[in-house]
Symmetry: C2
Subunit: 171 residues, 2 copies
């Protein structure tokens, strides 16, 4: 039985509909490595700024839990990626993050995107403050590259979950 990956699965990896459609068009993939190479090319060279902004806006703000209205698989992954941060955070760190997130969004027009896996809130706050000084066009590309890191982690998990389903079905 082959691994079946649908448009919804790609949207959980990256919240851009253009990205998800182009991944469907390029499917199926014979390995995770090939799929990631294709995803990088689609994300960094093919889809445009509108797609980037759509994907950024799918994430909860760092330091906040995902909104209950968003896709539940997407929300579950966002929570799991921020689990290190939430397990080591403090009220003052969360307060400072909230304030800097507001400044960041005012300057750049989108929320602060960072690959949160394994990072504490203090580390992400330092990164936010450092990146705040960037020119908007520079920061836009950095955010897109952070989004790509998130996408790759999610694709790795997706392929591993689907492989499990396939091997269980084959029993």
């Amino acid at each position: 039985m082959a691994m079946e990956i649908g448009e919804d699965d790609w949207l959980v990896c990256c919240g851009s509909t253009d990205f998800a459609k182009l991944m469907m068009k390029a499917s199926p993939f014979n390995s995770l490595v090939t799929a990631i190479d294709t995803a990088r090319d689609i994300w960094l060279n093919q889809v445009n700024v509108t797609a980037w902004l759509q994907a950024f806006s799918a994430h909860p703000q760092i330091g906040k839990s995902p909104s209950p209205s968003i896709n539940s698989d997407f929300a579950r992954l966002s929570e799991s990626e921020q689990s290190t941060a939430f397990s080591t955070t403090s009220a003052s760190a969360l307060q400072e993050l909230t304030e800097w997130n507001v400044l960041y969004k005012q300057k750049f027009g989108f929320i602060f995107i960072i690959c949160a896996s394994g990072r504490t809130h203090a580390e992400m706050l330092d990164a936010l403050k450092g990146r705040y000084a960037n020119r908007p066009i520079v920061e836009l590309e950095i955010a897109a590259k952070e989004q790509m890191k998130i996408t790759e982690l999610r694709m790795t998990k997706l392929f591993s979950d689907k492989a499990k389903v396939v091997s269980e079905t084959d029993l």
Copy 2:
């Protein structure tokens, strides 16, 4: 009598409301050179991608006349900037431009922006075809720099028109 430049004047130079507000905040300027330096800093380092997209969308597509619904001073300048192009164009050039403009917007998510003054439609079509190969993030910054050239030409005209009004009032 001092030169009076309002937010509407800045919006005719560049259709971003953030740009116009920041120019008002930095006013008055003691020379065109100082104003252009400030405008460059605001446009390239301060306002974000949302402002850039708003300004791009204020322009008519190259090869088309401005929509009658837009600001009439803005429309008048767009027409005058494309006057060389329209005086030397052909039906086939206009047709090809229309087709390439569609492809460009599909790829990049915004219309093709180029400083049209003194350029023929054939020259702009060549530029469009060349720029079409760019990565979206690269093309976004090129479009913003072309917008800046347009803004500078319009600011030069604005200062010259306002200086005329001041000197006539002083008579």
